[in-house]
Symmetry: C2
Subunit: 333 residues, 2 copies
C-alpha cells in the first residue's frame, strides 16, 4: 500500500539542480504514524548535500528531500502526544523528519509531531523545528551549557547560528559568533551576540582566549577549525561538531586537549532512532517552545519561495546569500 | 615558615634515576590543610614521567614526587571531613596529592583526605587512592557508564586497568581489556574481564566491533589508538583519554566520529583545582569505598619496596614487569 503525493523529485542524480515537482508515492503510515498534509517546508544545508549525493536518508526513509515542515494532520492513525492525548484530523502541527518534507504529504512518527508555538504561523513554525531540536540537543543535552558560560557559534548568521545565539542568550550565556560579513555580524549582534568575530579578518581563537575561552563551541566547520577550536576552549570546555563545511580529517593534538580537560562530540539528528528523536523533540518543546511563545527567541525567515523554485533556494543558501532560513510554500489545491 | 622532612630528592634533573633520600623542607600547612606523617606512598606511571622532566607539578606544589599515600594525621590545622566533623591528630588517612608523597611529611588540603576503607592496611589504602579517583571520575562522572554497557580498558594489567575492570564489573558493565601478555590477561580475567585481547596479536577494534562496540573506552595510549578506538566505539559511545603512552598527535576522522555520534574527552586529575578534587574525592569515597569494604573490589599490590629503592621501582614499572601497583614503605624512626 502506498499514498500518492506530489513532491520534489531529483530527476538526475548527477545534477543537484534537477529538482522537479512531480507525482510520486510514499509508504502508507503505520499505526502511530500520522499522515500530514504539508503547507510549508524548511530548507536546510543538509538538503543541498543530499541533492549532491552526500547525505543519504536513513534506511527505510523516502528519498524525497526535506527535514522539517508544518501543516495539518490528515489522518492521525492513532498518533498521540507525549501526554497520551490523541492528535485529531485538522490539527496544525510542525514535524521533524528523516526525509520527505518537500512533499504534499508526509508520514510522521508520533514522537516527531510538534505543536505550533502559540502565535506562530505555519511558515514560521516550519522554519524553527530543525534548528530548535539541533541547538537544544547539542548545547544542553550534549554540552550541558550553564548560566554564565561563554558559548561560541560558528556561522552565527546561518539558520543554526541565529537561533543558537538567541537561545544561549535566553539561557544566560555570554555569546560569541563568527561570520564572514559585517552584515551577518550585525544580525548576530541584534539577536544578542556579545562577541562578534569576522572570521575572514580576525583570529577567533585569539579573541576567545582573551575572553577566558569558550565553555561550549557549536562547530559547523570540522577539520579546518579543529585545532583552533581547542585553542579557543576554556578549561573543561566542550566542542560539539555538527557540520564539516571545512573538511573531515584533521590533526588532533591530544596533549593540548588534555591540558584543558576538553571534550569533543560529533553528533547528528537524522540517523538517531525514533525513541531518541522523540526524546529530543519532547525536551525541545518543553524547554524552547515557551521561549518562542513569550518572545524571548524569535524565528528569522529570510524568504518564502514557492516549492517549484527549490533549486534556486539551494543555490542561494550555498552562495552564502541567506541570513536565517528559507521556507518553501507548497501548493494547496 | 617551613617544615623539615626527609624525602626523595631528584639530585640530577637530567637523570631520572638520581632519586636519593635526603633532608629537605616543605611549606607550612595553611588553615584547612593537615600535616600528615606518611607511612606508605603509591607509585604511579606519572611519577616516572615527572622524574624524566615531562610532568611538572602544578604551580605552588612541592616538586617532591608522589601522587598518593597513607599515614597518620600529625596536625589537622582545622581540616574537616565533608560532613564538617574534625580530623584529629593520630587519625589514619589516605591522601590524594598534587605532589609530595615520597616524603615523611606532607601537607594535604582537607578535601584530599580520605578515610581508610574498613579492613584495609595503610599500605593497601595507599595503593588505591589514585586509581579509584581516576577511574570513578572518568568512567562515571565524565563518561556516565551505565549498567549493561560495554567498557574497554587498555592496559588491563596495569594499576588503572586492574582497578577499573573490577569497578566496572561491580557497576554491571561487560568488560573488555587489552594487555601485552597472557599472564596479564589471566589477571584481567580473574578480576572479571569478559573479553580478553592480546594487543600484540589481535586487533582490538575488530573484536569490540564483533561485540557491538564499546560504550566507554578508558584509553591510556592516545594518538596510536585514536582511530582504532573510534572503530571500536558503539553508537553514542565515549572515549576518555587519560594517558598518551602512544603519542600526542593523531589524525581525527570527524565524519567517522559523527557517524557514531561519538564523544572524546581528555582528562587529568593533577591540575584540577582544590574544589574539583574535593568533589571527586567525596564522590569516590561515597561510591567506591563501600565496594572496597564489602569485598566487591580489591587492591592489587604487586610488591612493597623500601622508599630508598624507588629508582628500581620506577624501572620495574617502565619495563612492564608490574601487574597492579607498587607501594613504597617509608621509615618510621
Ligand atoms: N548534525 C546535525 O544534526 C545538523 C543539524 C542541522 C545543521 N547541521 C549543520 O550545521 C551547519 C549549519 O547549518 P545551517 O542550517 O545554519 O546552515 P547555513 O544557514 O547555510 O549557515 C552556515 C553558515 O556558516 C557560515 N560560514 C561558512 N564558512 C564559515 C567559516 N569558515 N567560519 C564561520 N562561519 C562560516 C556561512 O556564512 P558566512 O560565511 O557568510 O558567514 C553561513 O551563514 C551545516 O553544516 C549543517 O549541515 C547539522
Ligand atoms: N590523567 C590522569 O589523571 C591519570 C591518572 C592516572 C593514570 N594516568 C595514566 O594512565 C596510564 C595507566 O596508568 P597505570 O598507573 O595503570 O600505569 P601502569 O600500571 O604502568 O599500566 C600501564 C599498562 O599499559 C600496558 N600497555 C602498554 N602499551 C600498551 C598498548 N599498546 N596497548 C595496551 N596496553 C598497553 C602495560 O602493560 P603490557 O603492555 O605489558 O600489557 C601496562 O600494564 C598511564 O599512562 C598514566 O600516566 C592518568
Amino acid at each position: 500500500m502506498s499514498i500518492t503525493t506530489n513532491a520534489i523529485i531529483q530527476t538526475d542524480t548527477e545534477n543537484p539542480s534537477s529538482l522537479a515537482w512531480q507525482t510520486t508515492s510514499i509508504a502508507d503510515p503505520q499505526p502511530g504514524e500520522a499522515l500530514v498534509r504539508i503547507h510549508y517546508a524548511g530548507v536546510n544545508r543538509a538538503d543541498t548535500l543530499q541533492a549532491q549525493g552526500h547525505y543519504p536518508p536513513p534506511r527505510g526513509t523516502t528519498d524525497i528531500i526535506g527535514l522539517e515542515a508544518a501543516g495539518v494532520i490528515e489522518a492521525p492513525n492513532g498518533a498521540t502526544r507525549p501526554d497520551g492525548s490523541p492528535w485529531h484530523p485538522g490539527d496544525e502541527v510542525a514535524v521533524l523528519l528523516s526525509g520527505g518534507g518537500y512533499s504534499e504529504y508526509a508520514t510522521v512518527p508520533e514522537g516527531q509531531l510538534l505543536p505550533i508555538p502559540a502565535g506562530y504561523s505555519l511558515a514560521e513554525a516550519a522554519s524553527v523545528v530543525e534548528v530548535a531540536c539541533t541547538v537544544w540537543s547539542n548545547i544542553m543535552m550534549t554540552a550541558r551549557l550553564r548560566e554564565g558560560d561563554t558559548i561560541l557559534f560558528h556561522g552565527g548568521g546561518g539558520g543554526i547560528g541565529i537561533f543558537g545565539i538567541q537561545l544561549a542568550r535566553a539561557l544566560g550565556a555570554t555569546v560569541a559568533a563568527t561570520a564572514g560579513s559585517e552584515e551577518k555580524l550585525h544580525v548576530c549582534r541584534r539577536y544578542g551576540a556579545d562577541i562578534l568575530i569576522n572570521y575572514k579578518e580576525e583570529n577567533f581563537a585569539e579573541i576567545l582566549t582573551e575572553h577566558g575561552g569558550a565553555d561550549v563551541i557549536l562547530d559547523i566547520i570540522g577539520a579546518k577549525y579543529l585545532d583552533r577550536n581547542i585553542t579557543a576552549l576554556a578549561p573543561d570546555g566542550h566542542i560539539v561538531i555538527i557540520g564539516m563545511q571545512g573538511g573531515v580529517k584533521g590533526e588532533l593534538n591530544i596533549a593540548k586537549l588534555l591540558n584543558k580537560r576538553g571534550n569533543i562530540s560529533a553528533t547528528g539528528l537524522r540517523y538517531r532512532d525514533k525513541e531518541d528523536k522523540a526524546h529530543i523533540v519532547a525536551e525541545t518543546v518543553r524547554n524552547v517552545w515557551p521561549l518562542l511563545e513569550n518572545g524571548q527567541i524569535t524565528h528569522h525567515i529570510n524568504r518564502i519561495m514557492p516549492i517549484a523554485e527549490v533549486a534556486a533556494a539551494h543555490k542561494a543558501l550555498l552562495a552564502g546569500e541567506v541570513t536565517g532560513k528559507i521556507v518553501l510554500e507548497l501548493p494547496q489545491s
